[in-house]
Amino acid sequence: MTDTETRLKALMLRGLDGDAAAYRACLALLGVRLRAYFARRMSGAPGDVEDLVQETLLAVHLKRSTWDSAQSFTAWAHAVARYKLIDHWRRRRVRQTLPIEDHIDFLAAEEPDPGVGLELDRALASLPERQRRLVGDVKLTGLSLAEAGARAGMSEGAAKVALHRALKALAERMRRADG
């Protein structure tokens, strides 16, 4: 368990220093943990699990500057996941309580298979065409920002800004999806 914290934290620190591969690995590992965490608490609505995983990963990414690297990364990520789950229940009018201390348990769950997130696609579909293409094109193994930008008719700098705006818009739309 603490092993996961050590790994996640080391990857995140390297990611914050600009190591994209480490950052990707951190999010992937976190995604597995999130899937298990949500699956266990949402047995009533398994179809929503992947939506929440994706919404939480987006939030982790966009809010990463609020992580204090002197503190536990897992506790921070768990707080984000917990907030997103409670928010999800609030929107669906479900009354539930979540213990604040269970971030230990957050590290120690079995690993269900990833499903497909539908809400993200819905949110994506509502973005302008150029932004949508850009989000789909920037695979870490595939196109670079400069290449993806060129395909959408943008400079690298413009593509950077457009991608960031698109991700923020996606996060906002997913949050309001069933509000």
Binding site: K63, S65, G117, L124, K160
Partner: protein
């Protein structure tokens, strides 16, 4: 969309932009908020007539310490509450302690005054009607800017985070307001200054509740 594809997009975005951490955001808000309050005080209210003399006496600085510590308490709370796993406890404790101290000093001053009339006079000062509303007005620019910048952070208790932002703003601008305000008793400060700061905190809490969701 597969989660792996999303992660690819996020990793690409991480190469580009990076937001400032909460302390830097808040420092900028305080600097701009204090500047706005200073411009308002200088252009609208003017400094107190006896400012040069007042700077030499203790009460000017005692007032400044009280309001600055209130602001510091708000800062401590909001710096933590802007993070999903943060608690404002240290800030609340500091704020409650300095407020209690000021109220105690004010009560003492009122008790040792010659009679009830004198005590009431201290409580009213020269500006009891305008003090709290002015602090409120001076603080609105900083509060607005602060709430806006908090939208980029991740408070899981939006109402409390907004309250802390109001306390931070109130403390900072009440300190600037001291350049204008000639009041010189703890009795007055403990009531009317605190009320102005508290009003900002209440507005922060109300607005924060819906504006700071993410």
């Amino acid at each position: 969309m597969r989660t792996d594809d999303l992660i690819d997009a996020l990793a690409r975005d991480a190469e580009g932009t990076r937001d400032p951490a909460p302390p830097r955001r808040l420092a900028l808000v305080a600097a701009l908020g204090a500047l706005a309050a200073l411009v308002l005080v200088l252009s609208w209210l003017g400094t107190r007539q006896d400012l040069a003399q007042a700077l030499l006496g203790p009460m000017f600085w005692m007032k400044a310490v009280y309001t600055a510590v209130l602001g510091a308490a708000g800062y401590l709370a909001v710096e933590r509450l802007s993070r999903p796993d943060g608690s404002g406890r240290r800030g609340w404790m500091l704020g409650a302690a300095i407020f209690a101290l000021c109220v105690a000093a004010g009560a003492y001053q009122a008790l040792v005054s010659p009679d009830v009339q004198a005590a009431l006079k201290m409580l009213h000062g020269h500006s009891w009607r305008s003090c709290s509303p002015r602090i409120l007005l001076l603080g609105l620019p900083m509060l607005g800017l602060g709430l806006w910048t908090l939208r980029g952070t991740a408070p899981t208790r939006p109402g409390l985070a907004g309250f802390a932002m109001g306390l931070f703003s109130g403390g900072v601008v009440a300190t600037v307001y001291g350049l204008h305000c000639p009041e010189h008793t703890f009795t007055f400060i403990a009531l009317w200054y605190s009320l102005g700061v508290l009003a900002l905190a209440a507005i922060g809490a109300l607005v924060g509740r819906w504006a700071l969701r993410w």
